[in-house]
């Protein structure tokens, strides 16, 4: 019973159906938003389809590629594959050490078969055939049988080796993928010029890590961003993003390098990428009564990638006066600002004429309320409740100042650039690459090489002079065996003729009909 199920699972037919299921199972992952790609898109989908989304969620349709049913399909496929490949590998190993099998009883019944006449005696005729086949890298075995001397030859063992390599590489690739998922991690952070971060989960804006990652095992590396540069073509297509960084162990020696798009920092299996960029406007806040906060900056998130129009907020909870005297600035940053119908817009991603449109609020920010809030916007509920009130608004160029009713002065003092950096660790990566290369090599061997057997039997010709050779070939995997067999027999005929002319200077030409 169990054996029957095992046989059924490892049958080729099942494998094909599982392949189809795998293809089919991947489809919803590209049609529905996925948490692994964009959490926001999933949240939006929940808002747009409040009835449908929870049902889909229960079916793991927003986490297709980590869902149990997707795993079930590929695990079944891999079990089927193991069940198919292991016996074949053993058989292949045995075949490598056994000589080609004896020729079938009636050679001329094989689809690719024919007769060759030669004036040579049976043994030398077979010698000539054997030599020709050995030149073609066949493994040749001669046998004496009741029906006469015969020859079996085989080549193309590498085809099956390629086949096995291909399928085993698939398994290795899956293992590498799984290892990378279990022991890998990834963290993202926005870093403004002049600032930096160290590789700990506490510092990252967002991170994800495999279940077997111990946060103590993170490699200790710190990265500082010195300068970020974005270059553009005439039509404002971004041509390059580069970040000058310094990196090294904390409290250790720094090393400087430049990373950019397509060119990450690679050190000991860890990588640091630039995944985005934007602007960090800076403000100087002058409190009436003397104290002043110089150049406090906050990164603003680009809302439009082509013009880098950005939005963000600057929160100043500690102005000193008390809990209800906090100050916040929410606003819009335009690298190249243009007033259109009373609204500030950005027309160019390069900082040619940076401007901000800001609204200043005073009151209680609610940062210590225990509820997490976004760094890039103010808590709208505090504004609704009246705890945070608007006290002024202005469009400012660099150096311009907004005067608030209580005498506070907010000056747009300048801007810096920030880079979105990503720190990645995937221990399975090289393993996967190696498997992929082996997979391709196996595939090429499997598809380009040919497994071929050739049989020949020599019988003395009926009229007493010479030999009649029966010849046949078998090709595994089909294809056009006929023209190749024709070519082989042509060559063998030539070889026999040459051999005959060597032994007998004046050979009898056998009649051809």
């Amino acid at each position: 019973m169990l054996l029957r199920w095992w046989r059924r699972l490892t049958a080729m037919r099942t494998a094909i159906i599982l392949l189809f299921l795998l293809a089919l199972a991947a489809v919803p992952g590209s049609l529905l938003p996925q948490r692994s790609l964009s959490r926001n898109a999933v949240t939006r989908y929940f808002a747009d389809h409040p009835d449908l989304a929870p049902v889909l969620d229960r079916l793991y349709l927003f986490d297709v590629f980590s869902s149990p049913w997707f795993a079930a399909v590929y695990l079944l496929l891999f079990i089927s594959l193991i069940g198919c490949v292991i016996p074949r590998a053993l058989e292949h190993f045995r075949a490598l050490r056994t000589p080609p099998p004896p020729a079938p009883r009636n050679l001329l019944r094989l689809p690719d078969s024919g007769r060759l006449d030669s004036p040579l005696a049976p043994a030398p005729a077979l010698d000539a055939v054997e030599e020709e086949l050995r030149v073609r890298r066949f493994r040749v075995v001669r046998r004496e049988t009741a029906r006469g001397p015969e020859l079996s030859a085989e080549k193309g063992y590498l085809k099956e080796t390629g086949n096995l390599l291909f399928h085993l590489s698939l398994l290795a690739l899956l293992l590498g993928l799984a290892g990378g998922k279990l022991w890998g991690y990834e963290g993202s952070i926005l870093v403004t010029e002049g600032q930096g971060f160290c590789n700990t989960f506490q510092q990252y804006d967002t991170y994800s890590s495999g279940p077997l990652v111990d946060s103590d095992d993170l490699s200790s590396l710190c990265v500082d961003l010195d300068q970020f540069r974005a270059e553009y073509e005439e039509n404002l297509t971004a041509s390059s993003f580069t970040a000058d960084i310094r990196y090294g162990e904390p409290n250790g020696e720094d090393r400087a390098t430049t990373i950019g798009v397509n060119d990450p920092l690679r050190i000991d299996g860890d990588r640091v990428y630039v995944t985005g960029h934007g602007f960090t406007p800076c403000f100087t806040v002058q409190i009436p009564g003397g104290s002043s906060f110089d150049d406090v900056c906050a990164p603003f998130l680009p809302t439009d990638q082509t013009t880098l129009a950005s939005e963000g907020a600057l929160k100043l909870p500690d102005l000193g006066a008390g809990q209800d005297d906090q100050l916040a600035i929410e606003g819009f940053f335009a690298p190249t600002g243009l007033m259109q119908g009373g609204l500030l817009t950005s027309i160019d991603p390069r900082p040619l004429a940076p401007q901000v449109a800001i609204i200043a609020y005073q009151g209680y920010l609610g940062l210590d309320s225990g509820l997490p809030q976004s760094v890039y916007s103010l808590d709208a509920t505090q504004i609704e409740r009246g705890r945070l009130t608007e006290v002024g608004a202005a469009n400012l160029s660099v150096g311009e100042t907004l005067d608030l009713p209580d005498g506070t002065q907010v000056t747009f003092s300048g801007y810096k650039e920030f880079a979105a950096l990503q720190y990645s660790h995937d221990p399975g990566q090289l393993w996967v690459l190696g498997s992929a290369i082996a997979l391709l090599a196996g595939l090429l061997g499997l598809l380009l090489l040919r497994r071929e057997r050739v049989f020949a039997r020599a019988e003395a010709a009926a009229d007493g002079g010479g030999t009649v050779l029966s010849l046949a070939s078998l090709t595994r995997g089909g294809g056009e065996s006929r023209p190749r067999f024709t070519a082989l027999s042509d060559d063998l005929r030539d070889a026999l003729a040459t051999a005959a002319s060597r032994t007998a200077p004046d050979p009898e030409v056998p009649s051809r009909d």
Binding site: R13, A23, A26, L37, G114, S239, S240, Y273
Partner: protein, 321 residues
């Protein structure tokens, strides 16, 4: 020549190649109309005509003497059609070369250029096969028809002005990954068309009558053509996916992230793997396997059109625009 003049020349050559392909299409139609039914005996794809004696082969392929009459006329049309197709392919190559010179980069930075290149690969692959095996000229209509339709759709729907590409695409992996994808896709296109024709040809009763179906190469030849091209395309596609993963690791910070394009490339790979298995599995040989191949082509086309135009993913800069 200035860059804008080169870009304009590229656009004109596009029209020229569509016109030439249309002429070739008419010539292929004429061949199908005036030619005679195909000869069973000369239907070995890529067979070297070896008719020398000496070996007694049962059922040997021999070049049958050609009966005079409508045949020569049909053959002449076929030769004209292949000639014009080759000219069209030359103009078509010119489209990409001048486009590449105009923007000073490889001419496959957006969907218009990519799709144009894919169609060129399909045409070149078919022309090469048809030159080696004259019998395949009988399916010219069914290759050139989709080619003309595809080019018109590309010209009307996907046209993009010559322009530089974004920073992420400025990598030597563009040459490696995208070239392999174009090559694989173009070859799969020929394979898919052959399988569609096989499905038409292998229907019961297709031999009867004098309609165009009976003038197609035999089901065997079409099946073998589909298989051989798929066998050629599969490693190339595998390489394209692997190269894409290597590039993604450098550009996006991970080698595989189930981006829609990645997902559908994987789906296509799995379907073609299923086709290659199906063709050697009892119960799947023949029509079921051919259907799998057709599904594979459908997935490839879906991956190009829907995934680029409708869904949003990291490959979306390959979009129209």
């Amino acid at each position: 020549m200035t860059e804008s003049a080169l870009a304009e020349l590229s656009d004109s050559l596009f029209s020229v190649s569509v016109a030439l392909y249309s002429v070739a299409l008419v010539a292929f139609c004429a061949q199908l109309a005036f030619g005679r039914r195909t000869e069973r005996t000369r239907e070995v794809v890529g067979a070297s005509a070896s008719a020398s004696g000496g070996v007694l082969l049962d059922d040997a392929p021999q070049a049958a003497p050609r009966p005079a009459g409508g045949t020569d006329q049909g053959n002449r049309w076929g030769a004209i059609a292949i000639g014009v197709t080759a000219l069209g392919a030359l103009a078509h190559t010119g489209v990409l070369v001048t486009r590449g010179m105009a923007v000073d980069r490889l001419p496959w930075g957006n969907m218009y250029e990519f799709a144009t290149a894919v169609v060129l690969v399909a045409v070149v692959a078919y022309t090469g096969l048809a030159l080696r095996t004259p019998n395949l000229r009988h399916i010219g209509v069914f290759v050139l028809g989709p080619v003309v339709l595809a080019l018109v759709a590309i010209g009307l729907g996907l046209y993009t002005e010559a322009a530089p590409v974004v920073a992420a695409l400025r990598s030597y992996w563009l040459a490696i990954h995208v070239s392999a994808a174009i090559l694989g896709f173009g070859v799969f296109m020929v394979s898919g068309i052959a399988s569609v024709l096989y499905l038409v040809r292998s229907r019961p009763g297709a031999d009867a009558g004098t309609g165009f179906v009976s003038r197609l190469p035999s089901a065997d030849v079409l099946d073998r053509l589909a298989h051989r091209t798929a066998v050629f395309g599969f490693p190339i596609w595998t390489f394209a996916v692997i190269a894409g993963a290597i590039w993604a690791e450098a550009a996006w910070g991970r080698f595989w992230g189930w981006d829609p394009k990645e997902t559908w490339s994987f789906v296509a790979w799995v379907v073609y793997a299923a086709y290659l298995h199906a063709r050697t599995t009892a119960g799947w040989r023949g029509r079921p396997a051919a259907w799998v191949n057709v599904v594979g082509l459908a997935v490839m086309i879906f991956n190009l059109t829907f995934v680029n135009l409708v869904s949003t993913g990291l490959h979306s800069y390959a979009d129209v625009g």
